[in-house]
Symmetry: C2
């Protein structure tokens, strides 16, 4: 069979309407591998951890898995022991249907917190879900995990390793509660590369650090964040050389980086993607703190919405970022337009040019602190009327 | 002369239009004491510090002062050496006019960051400003320091010390960039009590900690925050007994507490004041961290705007607050309605009652962590469409 770019050999996927979402759309997705896969996962750092995350963390510990069952509409978070039992029962139901072990099933949920998950709905929907499993089902699965997302997020990559071509295909959902150290973000990645789970874990961790942990929408961190990678080895490659490993890491980073950017672009109510680049920081930690503080400032984000190069707000955010800084050393650019030099504004002409750039949907704000050689970046979005509308009325 | 409640003996005040505000309203205020006063000040913790703050910090060091000159429309922040010279020149001009030392003049500014202060405008306006000094001028001065504030903030207190009655009268401006550890907040307090500046400093510091450092509007901290207290001793009281000192401290805390609440009530776009109370925290620092994290969460604040008891967002915010917590120990109330017990929702009936309370303009959310005996609180407001409108268009 000819493979489309949204297929990876040995993987099937499907989605159905299980009645968990208020809008009655697709809300239950299944991804299944014909063969056992190596698996690696990264999960929320929130101390309030959703039941499916607790379960899936357990199920990924041995590095092996076969399936991911994911629902939208209900986060199964803050649901206590009953919630954990619901997550476990979901895994068992899926395992029974697929004839695999329940510890080979990974469970993920997203949606409203604090309401019991209707597992009966899932049980009823399962026969159709398994029935519809298809090699080209991944895009449909991507649609089913959406909550306030406005578009499905898919990214793919093709590489060569051990003499064989392989693919990486990832889907994600994001939208709100997005902040470094993960988000209400689910990301599932499948690959046919042959790699052991220990190596897969290492590559995943470093890729998360440079991609999903460098985006922010609103500074809130969810209870359900989950990134899972499954690799089933069907590419048939021999053991990975160092160059192969690097190539795969680059591929994974590319896919995750693209998905991360899509999440910001689709941030709740966002109209703009802003790359917040910090240069010349005194330490790596200062660089990241500066990027996060400026990138999460409501005043900076509303100024971006207003297309106003209001650099005073950037300076004020830097000043409370708890970093080594001297006001009179700071330079700030909007793309290639220098608007602050040595802590002082470059005047109306520069700001006018910057304002013209800020009309665009995507641009970069670069801040050089001139304190050292460290740099970092955050991708953020603007704070808009629509963000408030979405979040004032999400449940009601 | 019969004193109104907005007068304190020995103090005069006035305000004029100096052309510093875009809307051409009152923008320059002067407060003057006939006699030398004891003075104490608390200033922004932002590392980017406005020129007037640098100057006024110097001028309060010897504990003596006579006058406060404050302008709105221009923050004189991020203006470099020229900005500092502008602040100093302002103090000198005022000193010359009033026939006092320039180090007895305290300067405060609020408004747009990064633009040169038009001191010539101030110089031209000074004769009229001094001319209009009047014992009942404080309310007018309160109006002149407003930026995006929608109402002038004034509070007063009357007490007895050393056998004599005394008064405390305070004015403040707030609105945006408000967050614990001060705000774009100016607060000037005058009293006729006789107290030495060392004691005044101590009382001021502790009162700031329980009032202005316990409010938040948007998590941003300004470069210009200033709280000044001047006491001119004209009440004629003898040295303060311990009881007198406590009484004065209570009075100052009352005035500052009222002003702080007014600032939240008038938070940019705010429609509701929410008292976020934390109980049962493991440590004092945990109690404050929890209050601040929940009180600053955009998702919690938009839920308040939407009058939605979306406690899952409160739990998620607690989970990222970096505190000792067990999800299954958390109780949450809206006023007296328990909506979360031992980490689990109390159901639709309770949420319906809570939603009815959340329609009000002011209510309390209480969170008991059941980890220890520490408690703290933050007063916050909701995040609204109007906040976005104000901040997307403030400069332009």
């Amino acid at each position: 069979m000819q493979q489309s770019e949204h297929m990876v050999q040995g993987f099937k996927a499907s989605a159905v309407k299980a009645g968990l979402k208020k809008d009655k759309g697709l809300d239950l997705a299944l991804i299944f591998s014909e063969r056992e896969t190596a698996v690696a996962g990264v999960f929320t750092t929130n101390k309030v951890v959703a039941a499916p995350v607790i379960l899936t963390r357990e199920h990924t510990k041995n590095g092996r898995a076969r399936a991911i069952i994911a629902n939208a509409g209900n986060a199964n978070a803050c649901t206590g022991k009953a919630g954990f039992n619901d997550a476990r029962r979901t895994a068992e139901l899926v395992a029974d249907r697929l004839g695999i072990g329940s510890d080979e099933v990974l469970v993920a949920s997203t949606g409203v917190i604090g309401q019991p998950l209707n597992v009966d709905n899932i049980a009823q929907a399962l026969p159709a879900l398994v029935e519809r499993l298809s090699p080209d089902g991944i895009p449909t699965a991507a649609r089913a995990i959406m909550t306030t997302d406005s578009f499905a997020k898919i990214s793919h990559f093709e590489g060569h390793a051990g003499g064989r071509p392989y693919r990486i295909l990832g889907v994600a959902k994001g939208a709100g509660m997005i902040m470094p150290n993960m988000a209400t973000m689910l990301c599932f990645i499948v690959s046919d590369i042959r790699i052991d789970s220990h190596d897969l874990n290492g590559v995943l961790s470093s890729s998360v650090e440079t991609t999903f942990n460098r985006i922010t929408v609103d500074g809130d961190t969810s209870t359900n964040d989950t990134v899972l990678v499954m690799a089933n080895g069907m590419a048939g490659n021999t053991a990975l050389t160092e160059a192969d490993s690097k190539g795969f890491a680059r591929g994974l980073e590319t896919v995750m980086g693209e998905l991360a950017q899509m999440i910001v672009r689709d941030g709740e109510g966002a109209t703009k993607v802003i790359h917040m680049e910090i240069k010349g920081a005194y330490s790596a930690s200062d660089a990241l703190k500066a990027a996060r503080t400026v990138g999460n400032s409501s005043l900076v984000k509303t100024a971006c919405y207003g297309q106003d190069p209001n650099w005073g707000r950037i300076m004020a955010a830097l000043g409370r970022a708890d970093i080594v800084m001297d006001e009179e050393k700071v330079d700030i650019w909007v793309n290639d337009i220098l608007i602050v030099s040595a802590g002082l504004g470059k005047g109306q002409e520069a700001e006018k040019k910057a304002a013209e750039i800020m009309v665009r949907k995507e641009y970069t704000i670069t801040i050089d602190l001139h304190q050292g050689n460290f740099e970092d970046r955050i991708i953020t979005c603007d704070l808009t009327h629509e963000y408030v509308s979405i979040n004032a009325s999400y449940r009601t």
